[in-house]
């Protein structure tokens, strides 16, 4: 009966080829196989983001007057609201970390080689979309740090000649960040970005199932594990560990909510305003070189990074391509150094400016505190 139902569904959706590919798929063993797990972990955190995001939508109110209050309500009155929000925020960061690890490991293993070039392209677009989620989601709590970080972020495109002002205004929906910007960020965060991302994730995952895992050009393959069910079971175990760690961190370090920003009573930015950690390399770069140079520089690097599958001919021919490996290592070092430098600068700025402590919403009232 169940077999009948399954075969009907497979045939109705024309999934015969995909199912056969999944059954045939093997995961190769070599000294870098451990990095394969990070793509799956990214997928798990993405799923958590979708589920917790939809849950938060039941209570979040996207207006400048109500956004902060509704999050306070989620955190203090709705049962387990503080946990769902904390999981959503921590999982967003975990997702970005997994994506960076997944991308750099794929780069260094030359997994972008043909026939996986389209996978690499979808992966890069997904990275940009996830960064878009981070940027648009940052403003939604409507606290002071978020307000000023968004103000800075939406000013950056202005350095571009001709189109800069238009792009900046389009993102903000107004001359300056206000309620319109919040609504716009909300629409992007819960409408536009999820639709595109879910479709692209499906494409990305289907491609890995059809094309199999990439093996570094000169890696010594010592064996293979059948993907279904052996490797999948191992992967589920890794997901359970990842999920457990996420819950532990979300419970032990609940995500804070800063002071509300009041448009009617404008305040100065709190000391050390900064974006999320995955934008810190960009934030620091903008401090040391002119904005236009940063935009053009990163633009060219992004194009190069995206087109690597077509530029690295040696790797496509199954040979070592050390120049690309060095480039990847330099990129990792640059991100690490600039991020660390940015955090040191933020720390120094905060130490020099005595400010009020960031308000922590007490976990009281509501059923969850009982």
């Amino acid at each position: 009966m169940i077999t009948d139902w399954k075969s009907h569904l497979i045939s109705a959706l024309h999934l015969e080829h995909t199912v056969a590919a999944v059954k045939e798929k093997n995961v190769p063993h070599h000294r870098s196989s451990i990095w394969y797990y990070f793509g799956g972990l990214a997928l798990m955190f993405f799923t958590i983001q979708v589920v917790t995001g939809v849950m938060l939508l039941f209570y979040y109110q996207p207006t400048a007057e109500l956004a902060h209050k509704s999050i306070e309500r989620i955190m203090t009155q709705v049962p387990f609201g503080w946990l769902i929000r904390s999981v959503h925020s921590w999982s967003a960061n975990a997702l970005m970390a997994m994506i960076f690890i997944h991308m750099f490991s794929a780069f260094l293993m030359k997994s972008y080689r043909a026939p996986r070039s389209i996978m690499w392209l979808t992966g890069i677009i997904l990275l940009l979309l996830m960064m878009g989620f981070g940027f648009t989601g940052y403003l939604l709590p409507w606290d002071q740090t978020a307000y000023f970080a968004t103000k800075i972020g939406t000013e950056v495109p202005k350095a571009l000649p001709w189109l800069g002002d238009i792009i900046s205004s389009l993102i903000k929906g107004a001359k300056d960040v206000n309620g319109t910007t919040l609504t716009r960020m909300f629409a992007l965060h819960v409408g536009v970005l999820p639709i595109i991302s879910i479709l692209l994730v499906l494409v990305h995952v289907t491609l890995i199932l059809l094309l199999g895992s990439g093996v570094p050009p000169v890696a010594k393959v010592t064996g293979a594990t059948k993907y279904f069910p052996d490797y999948l079971l191992k992967e589920v175990m890794v997901w359970l560990i990842g999920f457990g760690l996420l819950i532990a961190i979300a419970v032990l370090y609940p995500w804070e909510l800063g002071k509300a920003y009041d448009l009617a009573n404008p305040t100065e930015p709190p000391a050390g305003v900064h974006p999320e950690w995955y934008f810190m390399f960009l934030f620091q770069t903008l401090k040391v070189i002119p904005e236009w140079l940063a935009i053009f520089g990163f633009g060219i690097l992004l194009i190069f990074w995206t087109l690597v599958p077509f530029l690295d001919r040696k790797a496509n021919g199954g040979e070592r391509s050390p120049i690309f490996t060095y480039f990847g290592v330099v990129a990792i070092l640059y991100l690490c150094v600039m991020t660390a430098w940015a955090y040191i600068a933020v720390g120094d700025e905060r130490a020099q400016t005595p400010t009020e402590k960031i308000q922590q919403v007490p976990k009281q009232g509501g059923d969850s505190a009982k």
Binding site: N26, P28, H29, M55, F58, Y59, Q77, V78, P79, F80, G81, L83, I84, V221, T222, G223, A224, T225, K226, P229, D230, L233, K234, V236, M237, L240, F243, G244, D367, S368
Partner: protein
């Protein structure tokens, strides 16, 4: 295919069985609290502001031309009525049939629910033969001269 690790078949099946059992058990242990947390989170119903139990209405807001006014106390719609003898009365405005909001018809006079043509007399008692099977609740009104305090407590029966 040759690269797949060769292992005695019995051992493979045994190991896979244990692994499957472990993963299924762990997934079950994880799923139960997730379902509980999600159910509690999504099942939350706001109790409103329970400290808010009264509202003030100006006597001048109720005129012979417009002798009724809808107000809200703690998410509960209330209808305040000035009768022909200038007596002020307040009733819960939620129709006892299916929760629609009733309106006051001074020309009849009665309380009328436009959603399913339910009727209540001037004392809030449901009219037999119409949909509502229960009366509206009359609330306490305290006369403070130019203002009236409407309280969310039923009026004491005289």
């Amino acid at each position: 295919m040759e690269l797949i690790r060769k292992m005695p078949e019995k051992n493979t099946i045994k190991r896979r069985g244990i692994l499957k059992g472990l993963v299924a058990g762990a997934a079950a242990v994880v799923t139960a609290p997730i379902v509980y947390v999600a159910a509690r989170f999504l099942g939350y119903v706001s109790k409103g502001d329970s400290s808010n139990t009264s509202a003030t209405v100006a006597f001048s807001d109720l005129t012979p031309d417009k002798p009724s006014k809808l107000i809200q106390i703690n998410d509960e719609p209330i209808i305040v009525v000035r009768e022909k003898d200038d007596q002020i009365r307040a009733f819960t405005a939620t129709c006892t049939h299916l929760g629609c909001t009733v309106s006051y018809r001074p020309q009849v006079p009665d309380f009328y629910c436009k959603c399913h043509q339910g009727r209540y007399d001037v004392n809030g008692v449901n009219v037999p033969g119409t949909r509502p099977k229960l009366p509206l609740t009359e609330l306490t009104v305290v006369d403070k001269g130019t203002d009236l305090i409407i309280q969310l407590t039923p009026k004491a029966k005289s």
